[in-house]
Symmetry: C2
Subunit: 472 residues, 2 copies
Amino acid sequence: MFRFAFTLSLICVFTLTSLAVQASEIQPVRYVFLFIGDGMSFPQQQMTEEFVRQMGLPALTMSSMPYWTVTTTYGADVYITESAAAATAIASGVKATSGALGLDVHGQPVETIAQLAQKNGRKVGIISSVTINHATPAAFYAHNVSRNNMYEIALDMVASGFHYFGGGGADGRNNTNSPHFRGHIYDLAREAGYTVARTAEEIRALEPGIGKVMAFPHNLSMPYALDADEDDIRLPEFTRQAIELLDNPNGFFIMVEGGKIDWACHANCAVAAIWDMIEFDDAIAVAFEFAETRPGEVLIMVTGDHETGMLSVGHSSTGTQVYLSLLANQTRTFEGLTPMLERLIRERGEEMTFEQFKPFITENTGLIFTEEGNWQRGTLYLTHDEMTLLESDFERSKRAILDNGSGRDRVVRTAIRILNNKSGLTWGSGGHTALPVPTSAWGNQAEQLIRRIRDNTDIGIQLRPVVGAMAN
Amino acid sequence: MFRFAFTLSLICVFTLTSLAVQASEIQPVRYVFLFIGDGMSFPQQQMTEEFVRQMGLPALTMSSMPYWTVTTTYGADVYITESAAAATAIASGVKATSGALGLDVHGQPVETIAQLAQKNGRKVGIISSVTINHATPAAFYAHNVSRNNMYEIALDMVASGFHYFGGGGADGRNNTNSPHFRGHIYDLAREAGYTVARTAEEIRALEPGIGKVMAFPHNLSMPYALDADEDDIRLPEFTRQAIELLDNPNGFFIMVEGGKIDWACHANCAVAAIWDMIEFDDAIAVAFEFAETRPGEVLIMVTGDHETGMLSVGHSSTGTQVYLSLLANQTRTFEGLTPMLERLIRERGEEMTFEQFKPFITENTGLIFTEEGNWQRGTLYLTHDEMTLLESDFERSKRAILDNGSGRDRVVRTAIRILNNKSGLTWGSGGHTALPVPTSAWGNQAEQLIRRIRDNTDIGIQLRPVVGAMAN
């Protein structure tokens, strides 16, 4: 029954491989794509692969990458890394101290591969679904002791001269408390020659020749894919636009981060992670579309920075099967459902009963209340214990919402956890783990590169000469 | 701080790689080694790598394998596989139904790569630390609807004609209740021309030219490496002997299973898994020693059949660090400690108090009792809650032992779980998970093989032509 997805994958592998240059010697590339799934390791990929299989959706493009390796992620000072150190390792090839961006362990700035590309006259694009000065994108242009110095990091972004920034806006962009405050970041960007486009309309109107661009349709991070409006600009569209605006004979380096995969996994909200994974994967597909038009000139690499959530595909209650298509019953992410819950409870007030609340749970998660409480594998019937827990957490959420206290989302998170478990998923933590991550590549030089990568620093180390010797 | 181990690994990679044939065309091999770590996936490997690093022990040989891939493990009928279906996929290249050995999904027997080697006049060795007719070794010589038909599987072993079986003895070997009972398996083996050696002395006395051998020094499975006697014959010695006895101009195929890694992970006993991993790795090193004497003629492949225990390296209590060297305080595995506990309680009887029992815990796990109960990260001081739990579980174990009831090992398992958590390990289940496994290879054809493997069936599919075209 699982053979089908695999066969599909294999067909894709052969199709994609046939695009690759067959030359036995290494050829310079002109276009480099680096895709980073934040918090994305084997379980996240596996969960998404099985979800699309069960849902009858197209197989993931990333499943078809022809060359794979396993990458360790530890930081210079910790066994379990965070995104700043991990992205610094990827972007610059050095182990960094937790929280530090673009600095080696001695605090010395290290040139990133994006900066090397820029220095050599290539165009650079940085795209992320989280805020553009968040750790992972920042590690490609900033040098700072702390990922929390948002304003200073944003100053580095303005100073970078990179030609395209897209996705979530700059956090702390008007932080007048910063000792380095020199004005609103977007004003400084405009002074530095950037077009700062803030609406979908403005962004979609940008045309090749526009020069340096910041395309930030949202105040901060992009909404989760599952919660997004239909006309929202998403990672694939940003990627396509970056390609169009940056395409030039000297080539480009584009980094795309699926940043909210990590946030979804911190929240243990599987369906949020899955749809952001699918969208991230669609962005990879855009790079492949471009690659078809530039045979032998493109390198595409996909990696993660660490695992988040201690996720396992499998749950004690579901035995040897998983039922991930059940997750499709969830209408919105935890972030989308919480304001709906708050609105409902504020409207109905103190007298709202759990009985009246049940339809909210069923409509938004698919969980089914019965008198009997006799759950069976592969179904969403609630057990008595689960119904009792939801009732008590409803009361706690209600109290918190009406009193403006903390823990307002409690019943939403409980319902999501129950849905995740019934679907066959186990979350072990709300933080990162040390699980290594898959790194894969396609295209010119991909095989040689992958062979030399075992640790996240190897990505930066091995990409440096590739970027340094891009075709002219 | 983590750089050191990695640098060491890299040096090994270069050393090992330099042994490999550099020819660009595929060369036939004469000697094929397949190492299967049962229950061994990324977390098991990562745990062991970090343990040896913290203990100052030599880096694992498997860490130095030059070519790696990621292998999915699902069964024909399940998402989370078990060893029979997984080993059938590896041995024969077909997805199998859970529990079935050497049969495709239609129940038709499939030739294993070991049988193909045998048919072509190569010599075959099968070594396992668990019973020799357990699922994984059996999948290389048996064809049976159920892994539980131990006697029938052992009959297939006798009929195989393979030249070397070593490790754990045959389970159910004198099962007179079997409808196929024809006599004691070892008697049948002798009739079929096997020398059945049952003691370390007999086994060590075997010399090349002896013919077909069964070398089973234990009644059933081998003891865990941590619990073994000093003069016990372990996986590396079995591997070395198989090489000596099977070496011939037509070459050999040797499969070595680290079978008790899985059993240790089922029991969530980290140190048991680690020392069995180290021993399994030492067996891999033996293959490399041999490879040095046969340049360009050897292929070594290492894989796992599935993950067991939902293990993560990392625990909520230890933050971004792990303290795996603390595990070295455990003197024996759960299996070694339980009889010690039983003996102690039977000796001291009803009046034995928890106070009197505390030294047993401290001596055998390193856990430290204090009045204060103020644990700190990286130490083995027990919290009040942990001490209370150990006391109550001591009483339950005592009751069970004195009444000959179930759950006698309860306090041992609790102490081990606490030790594992304080060391920075999380076990999520007592069963298997769907986490993919690392597959790696070295030597002649390794690079080409690894590139074509994404699923466990690909191992059997890709090894078949290699084994079929072994050098003459």
